[in-house]
């Protein structure tokens, strides 16, 4: 091997670590660091992402989870549960719908457009909607896993947006 190719080999090994460090460094400053790292790494974009893009990746996670949770909720509603559960589910449905139609799109615009404070406010709201949904069941929630994921993902997204302010 020539000197040039050793240098190339060396460079090739350094570059990914720079981004990997950004993921780790960023996630350290969020409330759920481990969750943050594994969620971001599951998306191939994270290896070359800058901080706003890491935020966008996280918002995508929020979105995907919200959509699947919404489907779950609508399935549960069709099963005609008791009034109290129905009320809680309906409230969750409103919350997740709003996250999908409003909070996610405006957070994405905010992260791509550079006015980062909207992303922070909206993702915090999505997180709190998820915990309100959970609380509405008074302990016996059929959506615990989904709500928990949503809460974590949105909180992390909000924290990333905050780093940009």
């Amino acid at each position: 091997m020539t000197l040039l190719s050793i240098t190339q080999l060396f460079l090739i090994t350094i570059l990914p670590f720079a981004s990997a460090n950004l993921v780790v460094d960023t996630c350290k400053k969020t409330p759920y660091a481990d969750f943050c790292v594994s969620a971001l790494r599951s998306d191939h974009r994270s290896s070359t992402a800058d901080t706003p893009t890491l935020g966008l990746i996280m918002v995508d996670k929020v979105n995907v989870n919200a959509k699947s949770t919404l489907t779950e909720i609508q399935d549960l509603l069709r099963k005609s549960p008791n009034p109290r559960t129905k009320q809680a589910l309906a409230s969750c449905e409103e919350g997740y719908k709003f996250t999908i139609t409003d909070l996610v799109p405006s957070s994405k615009d905010s992260l791509t457009g550079g006015v980062y404070k909207f992303a922070e406010v909206n993702m915090n709201e999505a997180a709190s909607d998820a915990s309100d949904c959970e609380a509405g069941f008074g302990g016996k929630s059929p959506l615990s896993h989904s709500n928990d994921y949503e809460n974590k993902a949105a909180s992390v997204a909000a924290a990333i947006a905050r780093l940009l302010l």
Binding site: Q87, E94, K97, F98, D102, E125
Partner: protein, 683 residues
């Protein structure tokens, strides 16, 4: 300060002897027989006269009916009556002379409130139906001078006293001193149908505390003179039995008005109902019916039924009627959108038209198009290239409203405010003073208007970033006596009185200055205009300003409500910042229970600017001011006790070192419009 004293002299002279009657040429024709008596309320049957033999009292009976203590007439079933209820020196207990004590130990000496006293005594069971009032005999006896028990020999004074007395006896639920002359109290909704403007407003017929709300209704041909009608909508069905709250009117094709309103239903939920005229051919639209397919819209499980109200006027787009309903999700204000093909069956859109975090509940949303580069108004359904939209919301949390200018993306049913429109508590307002829950209306015969204390015309300014407002032209029909001034200098510390007018409307005062050089520097930490006005009131010296008007001022300035400007050098290049203030803190000697805020707002100005205009509509207890041609409007409600009626004065002032010139000032006395009198013969 120069003051001119008014004096009148009454000349007494003997009357001329009457001229001799002319001789008639031929005997006059016999008078036609009188028409039979008819009664309005009983239809066309003539009223019968009693048989004369039955009505004629004998001499004993006649004598007993003389003087103040009329005896009873048992054969006709008439009770006795004491006529001597004396209101000359305050209302008397029934009986001869002025008598107090017991439940009513005092008397009023203010003719304006005689009726209050009479009503109180009547309720207490000690008053009659009649009151002796001061006689109006403007005479002077050669033996002892002015007549007693009359207001005196000065006809001007006597005339005013009597007018006041009569009004006092007629009764007045609002303290006469503070009752406005040409301003209407909080309006909520407008509609123009068949040449009449209809005004609906929230009213509690049972008193001042909020509750039992109905839709009061008044009509006008000219937005200035108003006549009261019976309430259009009042609680009567399960879907509104606890209150008929705000809403809107929409005129459907074929000139069919329909009202959408929030009812507080039997379960105390906020639901949206509709009402239609009972008789479409009645131009007064007096009666409204509420069909049984109400409520049309309920909040459903996901929305808080205590935060779901105030449906807007509908617009038609994409084959659907669309409306907004104000709401909130936790701290986020929301405008939910509902669609319908037939105005009866409504479906909630997948997402709200717009929302904003941390603004709290959005009440009375108002959403309407405005033309760019034009002062003409638009029908709510208009869309297109030259059109922007305005979304106004009233914030329940802070009790003021704000608006944004933006774009309506009809295909997605989304509204996006311009980034120059702050979307929250620091947003633009229709009025920076006492102003809440206003509603706009569109009138095809004229430019669009906004309601408030006086109807205002509104349009988008040429930069497209904010609305301008100006009182409707029709108000000018009330103008009476005029005073004109021009090129009057106001040096530091000077006051100039604007005399010769009462209940003034000081109109389009143009203040100018030689330059803005040396104006105080604006401090970027000054974010709140109202706080800044409180720190830098009209008495605090400055450079360019403070200058403006002292309205509702008492003679020695114990009371005054200043409306003024103070100009600062802004931090941006070539820009100055103007603070416009309408400061109620010195408005009244009444003790501090009264809310006396120092309302204010900021305006931008080019550094090359050399003048600024101010228009103030002053009306007893309201001062409504328009700065810089309508860029900034501030309404103040004040309750002076000295600066009332003819004792209220108007001054222009300058407390800044830069000389200010009143370029032109026109001021008018305002005449009384017809304000909310019932239409006779209609009921």
């Amino acid at each position: 300060m120069v003051r001119i004293k008014l004096t009148t002299t009454t000349k007494l002279s003997l009357p001329m002897p009457p001229p001799p009657l002319p001789k008639p040429r031929s005997p006059p024709p016999p008078p036609p027989p009188p028409p039979p008596l008819r009664s309005h309320f009983v239809g066309s049957r003539p009223v019968r006269m009693r048989p004369t033999e039955r009505a004629d009292p004998g001499p004993e009976e006649k004598i007993r009916l003389l003087v103040n203590n009329a005896a009873a007439v048992p054969r006709l079933g008439i009770q006795g009556y004491e006529w001597w209820s004396k209101a000359l020196h305050g209302v008397s207990n029934v009986g001869p002379g002025t008598k107090f004590g017991g439940a009513f130990p005092g008397a009023t000496s203010f003719p304006q409130v005689v009726s209050d006293e009479a009503r109180a005594m009547y309720n207490g069971g000690t008053a009659g139906l009649t009151y002796w009032s001061p006689n109006v005999n403007v005479f002077r006896d050669p033996r002892w001078g002015p007549g007693q028990e009359t207001p005196g020999e000065d006809p001007v004074m006597a005339g005013k006293y009597v007018a006041s007395y009569v009004r006092g006896l007629q009764g007045n639920p609002v303290k006469r001193t503070h009752r406005t002359g040409y301003h209407f109290q909080p309006p909520k909704n407008w509609m123009n149908g068949q040449g009449l403007y209809h005004l609906f407003y929230q009213y509690n017929p049972k008193g001042e505390k909020w509750g039992n709300i109905v839709w009061a209704h008044s009509v006008s041909k000219d937005l200035v003179n108003w006549q009261a009608l019976p309430p259009a909508i009042y609680p009567s069905k399960p879907f509104d039995i606890n209150g008929c709250w705000s809403g809107s009117a929409t005129v459907l094709p074929g000139n069919r008005p329909v009202i959408l309103y929030t009812g507080w239903d039997v379960h105390k939920r906020q639901v949206q109902n509709y009402a239609i005229p009972a008789n479409a051919s009645d131009p007064y639209l007096r009666e409204w019916i509420k069909p049984n397919d109400n409520p049309l819209i309920v909040s459903g499980l996901g929305i808080n039924a205590s935060a779901f109200r105030d449906p807007t006027t509908a617009w038609f787009e994409g084959g659907h009627w669309k409306i907004l309903i104000g709401s909130s999700r936790k701290h986020r204000g929301m405008a939910y959108l509902y669609r319908s093909r037939d105005f009866i069956h409504w479906i909630k859109a997948k997402h709200p038209l717009h929302s904003a975090p941390d603004t709290g509940m959005w009440e009375c949303p108002d959403f309407f198009p405005v033309l760019k580069n034009s002062t003409n108004g638009l029908d709510t359904s208009v869309l297109g290239q030259g059109v922007k939209h305005v979304l106004k919301v009233s914030l329940d949390l802070t009790r003021f409203e704000y608006y944004t200018v933006g774009s309506y993306h009809a295909d997605e049913d989304r509204y996006v405010p311009e980034n120059t429109s702050a979307d929250g508590w620091s947003g633009l307002r229709y009025d920076y003073g006492n102003f809440y829950a206003s509603k706009t209306f569109f009138d095809s015969a004229k430019t669009g208007g906004s309601c408030g204390a006086i109807p205002r015309k509104i349009w988008l300014d040429s930069h497209g970033k904010q609305l301008l407002e100006w009182p409707v032209e029709e108000l000018e029909t009330l103008r009476g006596q005029k005073v004109h001034m021009s090129s009057v200098e106001l040096n530091n510390g000077e006051l100039v009185e604007i005399r010769g007018i009462t209940a003034a409307q000081a109109d389009v005062v143009l203040f100018s200055f030689s330059s803005l050089e040396g104006a105080e520097q604006f401090n970027s930490s000054w974010l709140n205009a109202q706080d800044l006005c409180a720190q830098k009131g009209s008495g605090v010296p400055g450079t360019v300003g403070p200058f403006g008007l002292l309205t509702l001022a008492s003679e020695y300035l114990e009371e005054f409500t200043p409306v003024f400007f103070r100009i600062f050098k802004a931090n941006e290049q070539n820009k100055h910042k103007v603070l416009m203030c309408s400061d109620a803190r010195s408005s009244s000697l009444l003790e501090s229970k009264i809310y006396k805020p120092s309302f204010a707002a900021f305006l931008d100005m080019d550094s090359s600017g050399r003048n600024i205009s101010l228009r103030s509509l002053i009306d007893h207890s309201v001062v409504e001011s328009f700065g810089a041609g309508g860029k900034t409007c501030i309404t103040s409600r004040v309750y002076p006790i000295l600066a009332v009626f003819n004792n209220a004065r108007l001054f222009a002032f300058n407390n800044g070192t830069r000389t200010i010139m009143i370029e032109t000032l026109d001021a008018w006395s305002m005449n009384q419009p017809v304000m909310n009198h019932a239409i006779s013969g209609v009921f």
